[in-house]
Amino acid sequence: MGRILLLALAVAALVTGVLGGLARLGVPLAFAAGAASHGVLMTGGFLGTVISLERAIALGEPAAYAAPLAAGSGALLILLGAREAGLWISLGAPVALAIVSASLLRRQSQAHIALLLVAALAWGVGDALSLAGALPNAVAAWWFAFLVLTIAAERLEMTRLTRRPAIAAPLFHLCVAAVLAGAAASLAWPAAGGVVFGAGLVALAGWLARFDIARRTVATEGFPRYSAAALLAGYAWLAAGGAAWCAMSLAGPAWRDTALHALGLGFVFSMILAHAPVVVPVVARRRMGYTPWMYAPLVLLHASLVVRIAGDAGVSTGRMWGGVLNALAILAFAGTLALALRRRMGQGIRPATTTEEPRR
């Protein structure tokens, strides 16, 4: 089945990306290919494949699957040593995703879908800059712009359910503009651009924490509560990552691990933990039951990130052990998902809520 194969490519990129990351941290793994390509495997290879797979399912057109196929097979080529060819094939993914997003925009003309299109283009810019050998921080800013704006777009859609003050929309646009302007300026003025980018992320975190429905759904129970907890914790890391990005741009590479992983693990992976129990069953065409065990990897992820960042700040081998525990958190989450899929609690994730009829 095509979807499962694409998901398998994404998982391969995730596993090798994580192992490559561990090798970078000094864990004795002979895995030079993964270590050299950790960033591209995690962003384009794993997240790019998953995000474009989601969008392809939403559009429902076979051609839309070209995007996850390009992202996943590009990552595979990079792993097999054909880095240049892999990067070129990967570049096709954001192009295809932009076309898919434009088709969705034609179906429904909404701000959040326009932002998904912008995010896809940011991914393409990051890939092109990577091929052109631009400054690593500028490439990373564009790749993170892709991830952060994609997530922000999905959350923006949800905030339509709540009553927002008139100021909310212009504030949101301002945050997005700062993120994009900062990423663009990072090419020519790394310090100033990085500060604007980081400040944009902090502002966006504030906006999401204030206006996201997670603030309401965290008061429900079952899966929506778990998901909201993961979202809110993620927003805290988005703010921390934005601040660390400013510090990295001003004070230098000592802040780099903190900035990239507060964003990549603290924010992006927290969003994955919040969303995967909804999306994985769609991809796998299987039901999934909610289990409170889902909190275990969530807590481990955030706790281990604190350990890692303490290590960044100089606490002996904290960075390496924090990284190992980060990887274990991801593994534990995968295990929880597998168990939840196997449980097949008939009704799937259908929490009892205050707005639902009593079931029996």
């Binding site: 959040h112 949800m158 359910l161 769609v282 809520t353 639902e356 009829e357």
Partner: protein, 120 residues
């Protein structure tokens, strides 16, 4: 609860219903069991159900989504089909079409959904 959403004079949050009146409460209750997992609200209260038409025991449903970019539509449609098949019994055909016109808007939410989301 069920009666408020099906009948002759539905408000904005209700859906068009055509079929035997005695089945309306059961149909509405079945659709209320389909919950958007992230929003913690069912699709009737969210205003995602546009219409249900019963003809010769088969059901034709029209629903929308808050976002065209959301992959969960597929699963919600499966849930609708499963729940209505449960009400109509074996042999009944249920088809559920995803439509984008008219576009969903927050005004379509039921009073209690709006209250849960802080509108009132």
């Amino acid at each position: 609860m069920a009666e408020e959403s099906a009948g002759a004079a539905p408000g904005l949050t209700a859906f068009d219903y055509s079929g035997p009146p005695e089945l309306a409460p059961a149909i509405t209750a079945a659709l209320r069991r389909v919950v958007d997992p992230e929003m913690a609200l069912n699709i009737v209260d969210l205003g995602l159900v546009y219409g249900v038409e019963l003809r010769r025991g088969d059901a034709h449903v029209r629903i929308t989504m808050t976002s065209a970019a959301c992959p969960v539509a597929e699963m919600i449609i499966d849930d609708v089909v499963e729940e209505l098949a449960g009400v109509l019994g074996e042999g009944a055909k249920v088809d559920c079409a995803l439509v984008w016109e008219p576009p969903w808007a927050p005004e379509r939410m039921s009073p209690r959904a709006r209250s849960a989301m802080g509108w009132d």
